[in-house]
């Protein structure tokens, strides 16, 4: 074993690290500790940021799921109508008509898709009807006269 850079021991047969070196070793230990603390802090920050972003993501997913749960089957089946309906609700005089149009739609279309059809097939098969309903809603929106609940939108 060769070790030219090491400070010589107090005696050639003494393997104990000389007391004179202990101060330097203590300094080196402190440097190691400080370097470690910096890396620990950096990683704790990175980890906290990761968890925060994950929590936001989970929150968004949960919120989305909650909203989905609140949506009626009709909304899920006719999303464009649902969006239009949502817009009309706050238009004075038209909101009640929108309510009416939905009740009409409920009568016209079955509330549940036929068994055995995929979601895509359902969308394709129902698209023309949905288009018709949108036309009807647009007509209602453009109506100059306020529509009362008693009037038949048909």
């Amino acid at each position: 074993m060769t070790n030219p850079s090491a400070e010589p021991s107090e005696s050639s047969n003494d393997p104990d690290v000389p007391a004179g070196l202990m101060g330097y070793i203590a300094d080196a230990e402190r440097v190691l500790m400080l370097t470690d603390r910096i890396i620990v802090l950096e990683n704790k920050l990175a980890e906290a940021r990761h968890r925060y972003e994950s929590a936001l993501h989970i929150g968004r997913v949960e919120e989305h799921e909650e909203r989905e749960a609140l949506r009626s089957d009709l909304e899920k089946r006719y999303p464009k109508i649902a969006r239009a309906y949502g817009r009309f609700l706050h238009v004075p005089g038209v909101g009640s008509a929108a309510h009416k149009s939905v009740s009409v739609l409920k009568r016209v279309f079955p509330s549940r898709p036929a068994a055995g059809t995929s979601r895509l097939e359902q969308e394709i098969s129902t698209a023309p009807d949905e288009q018709s309903a949108l036309v009807e809603l647009t007509r209602l929106k453009n109506a100059t006269e306020p529509i009362t609940d008693e009037q038949d939108v048909n």
Binding site: D16, L32, D36, E47
Partner: protein, 533 residues
Amino acid sequence: MSLSEQRSSELDRRPEVVSIVVPVFRTDHLHLCEMIDSVRHQSDDAWELILVDDNSGDDEIRAILSDYAKSDGRIIAIMRETNGGIGRATSVGLAAAKGEFVALLDHDDLLTPDAVEFIRRTASDHPLVDVMYSNEYRVDESGENAYRFLKPDYSPERLRAQMYFGHIVVYSARVLERIGGIREGFDGSQDYDLALRACEVAREVRHITRSLYKWRIHQNSVSHAKNNQYVFDAAIRALTEHLQRMKIDGTVTQSYAEGVYRIHRVLHGAPLVSIVIPTRGSSGDVRGRWRNFLTEAVRSIVQRSTYQNFELVVVWDTVTPKVVLDELRMIAGDRLRLIEYEGEFNFSAKINRGACAATGDYLLLLNDDVELIDPDWLEVMLAHFERSDVGMVGSLLYFEDGTVQHAGHLYEGGNAGHIAIGEASTWIGVAREIHVEREVSGVTAACALVRRELFFEVGGMSTTLPVNYNDVDLCLKIRQSGKRIIVTPYARLYHFESKSRKAGVHAHEWTELNDRWGREMIRDSFEPYPHRY
């Protein structure tokens, strides 16, 4: 934007076509048809299939290929008039391929229906990817009884020991062009040679963590055929040339009968290694005999190690019996440096103290309850540091009864564990991985070699983890610095840690580790079967 518009825009961002190249030679007709049908029934139809009959001399095979080519414009059948071997046939197929990515498929295997879809998605998500490989199913001759064969993420060291990519492997046209495609003269291991050369120049190698391929295992498979020594000879030649290109000084031998190789690296120079051993000088029963752990550990190292340039830095607690230190002086002679540790027990602080007192270029962190098995352990471990991106090397450790104590760390679900712990010494792993040199997420500090400079760069061992997880933390710091961690089965020691000893991990230690590294410990990159251990 309509759904159809969205789909077409997504499609625009994907590579256009995946070319699937299949060299065909005297295979079972049913298997051949099943292979072609598995391509035709892909969920994503952006593929072309190039079938190259290597002059099988079987009219029925040619008729099958021709019929399929006539029935589907995406299928190209090439009939060679002479037999040139699998390498030549594959080359012909590659030359005809027009896709941005090329996948290799064997004539009797099957693709899962989503294979092309996943290949294209991976290519789209990783624009720099040049090589992709997926997990696979192993199926019987009838194509049934599939079991999933999982693989680690890209592990260049392991690739030097075995062709763990298996199937399916996909190459970019760019990388194939750069390396000149497949080489002849490596039949049986032509895929291994191609993978090695491609990975040398690839911008990115990706592991697709999904089984996309069904490898039919039967008696006629090349890898299972008798008299297949030519396959392994070709692999050794491929590896030897790979070492030369990578400027790794070493030789290749076959370790096991089936496709496992050992790189015998040449160590240049003889850097000083500081073996840092924290101890309190305790004794215990080993193989029915009472012994002092420290003195016997040092005795085994001093007497058996073939590498000579090391010093022993022993960090001893104040309670260490004087008789132990005296005996240590006798055994270790002028290699020994003794430094006292007077504080409360803190493994990290003791290692750090030893590292500060050490003078070597490399630190070997070592527990005092070990016994050396392989005399050339230091040469084997040191030789890995000839690669500048290697930061740490660990060893294979056995319990007293010969069962495995450590074959690398695995980090999964926020927890850390030992790969193969408790397995018999004869256990070679699901894919013989236990007995090959490979990348791992970390290694135990019971025996780990690290560059001293790197150890200081990452702040040494964290003293706020005094008992548990300090080595996990150190390994994660080292990997964060961009360095690889290797475990080698050719540096073996006994570690007399009691198998029955409870880990004794406190909740606050787990919390501390996860507060630092939780995001990095969700899934282990290199151990695909973490729940086995």
